[in-house]
């Protein structure tokens, strides 16, 4: 098991398996003690005690898509914010101006979205 960079990520990789093992291990443990009496009624879909009309896998609304899109845009912004955050002090005013422009342009995007009322639902 190497130290340093790969050691760190090896640990993290191992913890992924530990986490999965924790979840499924507990489920297996529960299997030992829990009852299992399946019946048709139990396995029906819950919809307030009535047979569902239509499918559960219906479509969502386009508004959710626009929220997700807004998020993608700002998430990408965040990606550039972090490296900037730790070097801008060394680069000085120039870097701050660069980020002002960057954030300004994205602020226009947000303003446009607000202006277009994609956040209003009714």
């Amino acid at each position: 098991m190497p130290e340093g960079y790969f050691g760190q990520y090896a640990t993290i990789g191992i913890f992924v398996f530990v986490g999965v093992a924790l979840v499924f291990g507990t489920l297996q443990l529960a299997r030992l003690v829990r009852p299992n009496v399946p019946s048709y009624e139990k396995s029906t879909t819950y919809e307030s005690g009535i047979d569902p009309i239509g499918e559960g896998w219906s479509q969502s609304n386009v508004r959710y898509y626009i929220f997700a899109l807004l998020f993608v845009v700002f998430d990408v912004e965040a990606v550039f914010l972090f490296p900037w955050a730790i070097v801008f002090e060394r680069l000085g005013t120039q870097a701050l101006v660069e980020m002002v422009i960057f954030i300004g342009i994205l602020a226009i995007a947000l303003l446009y979205a607000i202006k277009k009322k994609v956040l209003e639902w009714l």
Partner: protein, 333 residues
Amino acid sequence: MFDITLATWQILVIKIIVILTVVPVGALVGGYAEHKVMAHLQHRLGPMYPGGFHGWATTLADGIKFLYKEDIIPAAADRKVFSLAPAAIMVPIIMTYLVIPIDRALIVEDLDVGIFYLLAVGSLSTIGLLMAGWSSANKYALIGALRSAAQLIAYELPIVLAAVVVAMLAGSLSLIDIVETQNWPFAIWPPGIGFIAFLLFTVGAVAEMTRVPFDMPVAESEIITGPFTEYSGMRYIFAHMFAEMGHMVAFGGIGATLFLGGYQPIVPIPFLDFIPGVIWFSAKTMFMIFLFLWIRPTFPRVREDQLQKFAWKFLIPVGLALVLVTGAWVLYV
């Protein structure tokens, strides 16, 4: 890392054992704290019987009870995705514990990308929620999944921006570095900036945990329990209860680390150094958790569109402005 020489695999085993204890114990204690704090805020006693003393074993008993519950997968559900979803929700939460420094040397791994790792891993839960909601083939679950996904992504941004502010002040992404640079906790110094970032973080964290007032996705009076409507038994615990509590403890720790100075004393007085960092860290984490618990019995829940508007029209612009203000502060003050 340690003065005592241990083989790397021994250290690894210790780490695994520690995390495997901290996560469930944290969730149990969080659950118990929720019962009791809320009860006292509402002029009642809360659980008093299980375990004898002030019902300390309540959450433990709850957990054991759920162990004994039948695990039902609805016939209409997509079995594979349905059973994987709890793990997809739970594992990222466990992963966030890995980079939180409990003390100078007590951290599973101090990554160079520290905060960024936290955010990246944190964003994975969204997929798990969508998996849970979609695979249940239930309309409430689907609505809940869409709501929670939309909410989680919207409120991730204030947290990201608050974290950027912290990174700018600390000049590093590593959480150890961030704690070390906080002579005064960031929530106090620089004046205003740190506190606003702290508020952004707290609001975002409450929303990420889908707790009142941002608990639209699991609003029981509207859509039952949202994405987890069809879940039962242990799967439900992992997908919902355990995840919420685990999240709460994790966010408590993150908040304490980023804004309250982590394992450092709350004020830079050398006299206070005799108190070990673990105590400081735990106290600050508990303060954060108390904050989260306090919010719950205080507010009604907001509506989905109000919630989105609040994020996009208020929190995110404030966060963006704050980033620039912080930049000016760091460069010119």
